[in-house]
C-alpha cells in the first residue's frame, strides 16, 4: 500500500495534465463496458418500443412459453416467448422504456427538489435548516418501500404517483449531502469576497455555491438511479407499481411467477436485465466519483501511462 502510494506520487508529475475523460473511461474496462451497456440500453429504451411495438403485443398461441436459446422461430424468439406467445426480446425492450423513464424522472425530481432544499438549508443555517433536516429524518427513519405502499394505497397507482412517491422517499439523500457541502463551502474565502463585493443571496447561491455542489449531487444521482430502479421494480413486482397493460421489468418478473415450474425464463430474463443495469450504474458511478475528484483522479491517469 505505502510503496504503491509513493511510487505513484513520484510518477504523477510526468503525467500529462489533460488526460481526456474518454481515455480514462477506455482504461477502466469495467466502467467502459458499463458505459457501453447503458448507452445501448438508453438507445433501445428510446427507439425500441417504436420499432418493436408490434411483435411485443402480437399474440402467437403456437409459440406459448416457447423455450429460449433457439433460433427456429427467428431472432425475436431467441429468449423464448411468454404465456401468450409474445416475443421475450421485444417485450424486454419495450419494458425498458417504462423502467428507465420512471427511474429517470424520479431521480430528476428528487435531485432538483432535494438539492435545492439542501442548498437553502445549508445557506440559511437556522430554524429553516432544522425543520428541513427533521423532515429528512422522518423520511429516512421509515422503510421507503412501506411509504410507497401506503401512498399508492391511498392514491391510485398511476405513473405520476409512482414517480412522486419514489422521489419523495429519496429526497433526504440529496438534502443531507447538499447541506453538508454548502456548510463547508460558505466558509471559504471566495464567498466572503463575493459578499464583500455586494453579491445578493440569490447570486451567491446560483453563481458561486450551486456550481460546486452540482457535480457531487450528479454522482450521487447515478448511484440513486440504480436504487430507484430496484425500488420501482419491487413495487411493480408487488403489484402496486406500474399496472398492466403497461410493462416494466419488475412487472414481467411478477407475471412470470405463475409459470416458475414450466417456464423459468419468463421471470429470469427481466430480473437479469434489472441486475445488469443496476450493476452497470454502480460501476459507472464508482468510476465517476474518482474521475471527477481531482484528488483521486491520478489513479485513472496512471493506468493510462503504464498502458502506453
Amino acid at each position: 500500500m505505502t510503496s504503491r502510494l509513493t511510487e505513484s506520487v513520484a510518477v504523477q508529475p510526468k503525467v500529462q495534465r489533460s488526460v481526456g475523460l474518454w481515455t480514462m473511461l477506455w482504461n477502466d474496462k469495467f466502467a467502459f463496458v458499463s458505459f457501453l451497456f447503458l448507452v445501448v440500453m438508453v438507445f433501445l429504451a428510446v427507439f425500441g418500443p417504436w420499432l418493436l411495438e408490434q411483435p411485443a403485443t402480437k399474440l402467437n398461441l403456437r409459440l406459448r412459453n416457447a423455450p429460449p436459446f433457439s433460433l427456429d422461430n427467428g431472432w425475436l424468439y431467441f429468449l423464448g416467448a411468454d404465456a401468450l406467445g409474445r416475443s421475450m426480446i421485444a417485450r424486454l425492450i419495450v419494458a425498458s422504456q417504462n423502467t428507465l423513464l420512471v427511474a429517470a424522472s424520479a431521480v430528476a425530481v428528487s435531485l432538483i427538489i432535494g438539492g435545492a432544499l439542501g442548498i437553502l438549508a445549508g445557506y440559511f443555517n437556522g430554524r429553516f435548516s432544522t425543520v428541513i433536516m427533521r423532515f429528512a429524518d422522518i423520511i429516512m427513519s421509515f422503510p421507503s418501500l412501506l411509504i410507497a405502499v401506503v401512498v399508492l394505497y391511498i392514491f391510485e397507482p398511476k405513473v405520476a404517483n409512482l414517480v412522486l412517491v419514489l422521489s419523495i422517499t429519496r429526497l433526504p439523500v440529496y438534502m443531507r449531502t447538499a447541506r453538508a457541502e454548502v456548510l463547508e463551502i460558505r466558509e471559504r474565502q471566495f464567498i466572503a469576497a463575493a459578499k464583500t463585493l455586494g453579491a445578493s443571496h440569490s447570486r451567491l447561491i446560483t453563481r458561486h455555491i450551486a456550481p460546486l455542489v452540482v457535480p457531487t449531487l450528479t454522482t450521487i444521482a447515478t448511484l440513486e438511479f440504480a436504487f430507484v430502479m430496484l425500488a420501482e421494480s419491487s413495487l411493480s413486482f408487488l403489484g402496486i407499481g406500474i399496472q398492466p397493460p403497461e410493462i416494466t421489468w419488475g412487472l414481467m418478473v411478477a407475471q412470470g411467477r405463475n409459470y416458475l415450474q414450466s417456464a423459468w425464463w419468463l421471470s429470469f430474463f427481466p430480473g437479469l436485465m434489472i441486475m445488469f443495469s443496476a450493476l452497470a450504474l454502480n460501476l459507472l458511478s464508482g468510476w465517476t466519483r474518482i474521475a471527477l475528484d481531482p484528488v483521486q483522479r491520478w489513479r485513472l491517469e496512471i493506468t493510462n501511462q503504464q498502458a502506453s
Binding site: M1, D137, S141, F142, P143, V149, Y153, L230, S234, G271
Partner: protein, 306 residues
C-alpha cells in the same frame, strides 16, 4: 451519556409524531375514511353507520385529537378482515419479521467483516478484486428476483428446499439468504474501505513493531476502530431490511409484518396498515437509538462529547 440518550429519544419522538400526523392526514385527504377502512363492496348503509360511529363527520382537528387519545390507550382500530384489534394482529406478526431480519443482519455483518477485512489486508490482490466485484453484484441484485431464481433452482429443479412456509431450520435457509444478500454486498464495501484507512494508521505500525500477531492486529486492533462506519451503515440498513422483509415474506409466505401489510393493502384493511406502519416505525427508531448507544460504547470520544 444520559443527556445524549434523552436527546436521541426526543428526536425519535418528533419523527414518530411527524409520521403520525402524516399518516392521519394522508388518510383523511382522500375523503370518506369509509372508502379506506371498509371493503370495496360494502353497502352505503354500512358506510353511513361506520362514519357516524367513528365521528368522521367531525372537523379534522377533533378527529385528530380523538385519534391520538385512542392511540395512547393502545387502540388502533379494528381489522375489518379479521374482526380483531389491529394492534394485536400486528404484534403477532412482528416477532417473525424481527427473527428473520436479525438472523440475516447478524450473518451479513459477520460475513462482511471476515470478507471485507481479508480484502483490505491485501488491497489489489486476487481476493480483494473478487470480493469487490461480487459485493457490487450482490448489492445490485433485485431481491425478489434472487428469491424467485433460488426457488427455481433449489425447490423446483433440485428439490432440496421447500418453496414456502414456516417450519424447521430448512424453511429458514432461503429467506435468510435472500434477505442478507444486499446488506452483505454493501457492508463488505464499507468494511473494506474502513479497514483500509485504519490499517495504514500509525498505531498499527506500532503494534506490528511490537511483534503483535497479524491476526490480532487485524481483528483486535484495527477492527474495533473500523467498526464505527460499519455500524452506521448497518443501522441505516434496519429500514432497508424492513423493505426486504416485505418482499421475502410475500414470496416465501411468511406470516411477518411485511406480508401482513401487503395482504392488508390488497384486501383494503386500513386499520391494520396504519397500525403496522406505526409499530414498524417504532421498532426502527428504537433500533436507531441502540445503534447510537453502540457508538458510545465503541468510541469514548463520542461518550465525552455528549
Amino acid at each position: 451519556m444520559r443527556q445524549f440518550l434523552a436527546r436521541r429519544i426526543f428526536h425519535s419522538l418528533i419523527s414518530l409524531v411527524g409520521l403520525l400526523v402524516l399518516v392521519f392526514f394522508l388518510a383523511r385527504l382522500t375523503g370518506n375514511p369509509g372508502d379506506l377502512y371498509l371493503p370495496l363492496d360494502s353497502s352505503i348503509e354500512t358506510r353511513q353507520a361506520f362514519t357516524e360511529k367513528h365521528g368522521y363527520d367531525d372537523p379534522a382537528y377533533i378527529q385528530f385529537g380523538r385519534y391520538v387519545r385512542d392511540l395512547l390507550s393502545g387502540d388502533m382500530g379494528e381489522s375489518v378482515r379479521k374482526k380483531r384489534p389491529a394492534l394485536e394482529i400486528v404484534l403477532e406478526a412482528i416477532p417473525v419479521t424481527l427473527m428473520l431480519a436479525a438472523s440475516a443482519m447478524f450473518l451479513a455483518l459477520v460475513g462482511a467483516v471476515i470478507v471485507g477485512a481479508r480484502a483490505a489486508y491485501r488491497p489489489g490482490g486476487v481476493f480483494d478484486r473478487v470480493a469487490s466485484i461480487s459485493s457490487l453484484v450482490s448489492a445490485s441484485a433485485p431481491d425478489f428476483w434472487i428469491a424467485i431464481t433460488a426457488i427455481i433452482v433449489f425447490s423446483v429443479h433440485l428439490q432440496w428446499l421447500p418453496t414456502s412456509g414456516l417450519g424447521g431450520p430448512i424453511y429458514w435457509i432461503m429467506p435468510v439468504c435472500v434477505l442478507l444478500i444486499r446488506p452483505f454486498g454493501l457492508l463488505v464495501q464499507v468494511v473494506r474501505s474502513s479497514m483500509l484507512t485504519v490499517l495504514s494508521a500509525a498505531y498499527i505500525k506500532t503494534a506490528r513493531a511490537k511483534g503483535v500477531k497479524e491476526k490480532s492486529i487485524v481483528f483486535v486492533h484495527a477492527l474495533r476502530n473500523a467498526m464505527i462506519p460499519v455500524i452506521t451503515v448497518a443501522g441505516d440498513q434496519a429500514a432497508a431490511m424492513a423493505n426486504g422483509a416485505v418482499i421475502v415474506e410475500t414470496i416465501f409466505g411468511w406470516p411477518g409484518i411485511g406480508k401482513l401489510m401487503i395482504d392488508s393493502i390488497v384486501q383494503r384493511d386500513f386499520a391494520v396498515v396504519q397500525a403496522a406502519i406505526l409499530v414498524t416505525a417504532f421498532v426502527i427508531l428504537s433500533i436507531n437509538i441502540v445503534v447510537d448507544l453502540t457508538y458510545a460504547v465503541l468510541d469514548p470520544r463520542i461518550r465525552k462529547r455528549s
